[in-house]
């Protein structure tokens, strides 16, 4: 174990995968000597050189196509889209080709690629540089979607994503880059599609992922002071979804609150609520609550942005409505 930041951990995952497999390369805007918009790729250019760490033109459609074409013929690209907000620029390449080629072609071509996309609000980066679009990706059959909420998961999910034989969207939260934590040394994978109980509790299940894991743990502490023991289930992957873990936890707590940073309507919280309202209906002692930002673009003003992002007190309040 070593103390590392979330950013160092995901970089370490990339470094290990690149060392072990010459087919892995990284391409994106300013990922080379500049080290990435937030510093995620610092040092990789020096270590692996311009052949494997590639600065691209500002051409997200070409970047996704580069990954799709290279992966379809056997390489293992990692591409960075500087902000997940920009995925709209290259959504067609993901939706209609990368995600569907394996199926459309009868299973004869596979597309092992990772798309890294920084997401999330909190920096007054405003409406076009602060979004979370998790549920969009989860709605595309043929791809996998991971959203680590801790340094250890950031590294293990990165290694698993790079080695998966399908397109994987790796959602790295800008607000977590500086988070530090214990990270296992060397090579290990966190399996895609396995949730993790970040805090055990008997009274209510909080299902969450990415930056909202910390917010939920913060809320759980506050709740404990009032004698409510919340279980915090970190999905880590939203596709595949660990439905078993969700239902098992609700079976123990009989109460469910879902917390995410995507805007509420048609966010992935709806999918989780629907799952439990069907398969777990008889387990429930209370309504299912969702805590998420309102249906607005992300505002620039820090005052407004803080009102936009779900905070621990709002999670506490939602939980208390269930008792």
């Amino acid at each position: 174990m070593a103390m590392m930041s979330y950013m160092e951990a995901l970089r370490d995952g990339m470094r290990i995968a690149m060392k072990n497999d010459p087919n892995v390369f990284l391409a994106g805007e300013d990922v080379g000597a500049f080290g990435g918009c937030f510093g995620q790729t610092q040092g990789l250019f020096e270590e692996f050189g311009p052949k494997r760490i590639i600065d691209t033109p500002i051409s997200e459609t070409a970047i996704l196509g580069l990954a799709t074409g290279a992966a379809a013929v056997g390489l293992r690209p990692i591409v960075e889209i500087m902000f997940v907000d920009f995925m709209g620029v290259c959504m067609d390449e993901l939706l209609n080709n990368a995600a569907k080629m394996h199926y459309m072609f009868g299973g004869k071509i596979s597309v092992p690629m990772v798309v890294r996309a920084p997401c999330g609000a909190g920096f007054s980066a405003a409406a076009q540089h602060s979004q979370s679009l998790d549920s969009w990706f989860a709605h595309i059959p043929g791809i996998k979607v991971v959203a680590p909420g801790s340094p250890a998961d950031a590294k293990g999910l990165m290694l698993a994503a790079i080695r998966d034989n399908n397109p994987v969207i790796y959602l790295e939260h800008k607000g977590l880059f500086g988070m530090s934590g214990e990270v296992p040394e060397g090579d290990y994978e966190v399996p895609l599609g396995k949730a993790d109980i970040k805090r055990e509790g008997r009274d209510v299940t909080i299902v969450t992922w990415s930056a909202m894991v910390n917010k939920s743990l913060e809320a759980a502490k506050l709740l404990a002071q009032d004698g409510i023991e919340a279980e915090v289930l970190d999905l880590r992957s939203i596709a595949p979804l660990d439905t078993g873990a969700i239902l098992d936890s609700v079976a123990r707590t009989n109460r469910l609150v879902i917390v995410h940073e995507e805007v509420l309507t048609a966010g992935f919280g709806g999918e989780i609520a629907a799952l439990v309202a069907d398969k777990g209906f008889d387990l429930l002692d209370a309504p299912i609550k969702r805590v998420a930002p309102p249906d607005t673009p992300v505002p620039f003003s820090p005052v407004l942005e803080q009102a936009f992002i779900p905070q621990a007190p709002a999670i506490v309040a939602a939980v208390k409505e269930l008792f």
Binding site: A62, G69, A70, G74, L75, D92, F105, G106, K108
Partner: protein, 320 residues
């Protein structure tokens, strides 16, 4: 330059295979044996045949919604293709893809594509892989005149040119995007003029003359294999049929259609072969018969192939 007998006959046979395959597709679509959309390549065969004669199995192509010709020219199996058009279990994609979505990884065919212009960045990606591996394989991207207005055209060629990737971008200019005349979808007459925007060679060639096509392609492919980067080739041609089967083509001028039918690439190639003394009329007939038979076999194969099982619906969403 005088092309060898093997080469000429090989290209001609590919052209025949495409033409006969698609002539049958017309009837089979009308007879509702082929579901969905069918976009025919009839009249443009010289391009696929002339270009793919420069390529080996290690080379890649990306194709379009009008893909039968590219696939057949790159060596696609007629039986599996026809079975796929029928939507049968023995088709290239087990019935999941259909006419617009056929690929063959063993032949470097990265797929027909239903999204106009989507093949361009994928072709750049395959070219990147050749470059990354340091072998001398190339990646060829076919697309139409109207598709050259997609942003993907710009981004993919700029990327390929900047990285000097072994890619060849091939515009099949048949003067229309569905009903939209070239003069109404761009303000230049030669798509090859766009090469200048990337500092790469751009040439315009008669797309109905397989010899001219092949010579232009040879040069671009050699350049790519040398590591000198991409080229943009424009081949002027004509779609003899509607955009898709069922298109009444009211937007076409009958006189112009007639003039282009007179420039049909097949008789033209036959004449070249006879003039070169490679075959006499009887030899041509024999070759035609042989290809006809192949196509008939493919149809029989497709007819006899079972429908997919409904449970296949859930298979092959993810790779293991």
């Amino acid at each position: 330059m005088k092309l060898t007998k093997d080469l000429m006959l090989g290209m001609y046979e590919k052209m025949l295979r495409i033409r006969y395959f698609e002539n049958k597709a017309i009837d089979l679509f009308a007879a509702q044996k082929i579901p969905g959309f069918v976009h025919l390549y009839i009249g443009e065969e010289a391009i696929a045949a002339g270009v793919c004669a420069c390529l080996g199995d290690q080379d890649y192509i990306t194709s379009t919604h009008r893909g039968h010709g590219h696939l057949i020219a790159k060596g696609g199996d007629l039986k599996m293709m026809m079975a796929e058009l029928f939507g049968r279990a023995d088709g290239y994609c087990k019935g999941k893809g259909g006419s617009m979505h056929i690929a063959d990884s063993n032949l470097g065919i990265l797929g027909a594509n239903g999204i106009v212009g989507a093949g361009m960045p994928i072709a750049a990606g395959a070219a990147f892989a050749c470059h990354y591996r340091g072998n001398d394989a190339v990646s060829v991207c076919f697309f139409g005149d109207a598709s050259s207005n997609r942003g993907t055209f710009h981004e993919a060629i700029n990327l390929a040119a900047t990285f000097k990737l072994p890619a060849i971008f091939i515009c099949e200019n048949n003067l229309y995007g569905i009903s939209n005349r070239q003069s109404n979808h761009m303000s230049i007459s030669d798509v090859s003029d766009r090469a200048r925007a990337y500092g790469i060679p751009g040439v315009t060639v008669d797309g109905n003359d397989v010899v001219a096509v092949h010579e232009a392609a040879l040069e671009a492919v050699a350049r790519a294999r040398r590591g000198d980067g991409p080229s943009l080739l424009e081949f002027k041609t004509w779609r003899q049929r509607g955009h898709f089967e069922g298109d009444p083509q009211t937007y076409k001028d009958p006189a112009e259609q007639k003039a282009w039918l007179a420039k049909d690439p097949l008789p033209h190639t036959e004449k070249q072969i006879i003039d070169l003394g490679y075959l006499d009329k009887a030899g041509i007939k024999a070759l035609q018969k042989k290809v006809q038979a192949e196509v008939e076999e493919a149809i029989t194969f497709a007819e006899n192939s079972p429908q997919p099982d409904p449970s296949d619906l859930l298979r092959d969403v993810y790779a293991a």
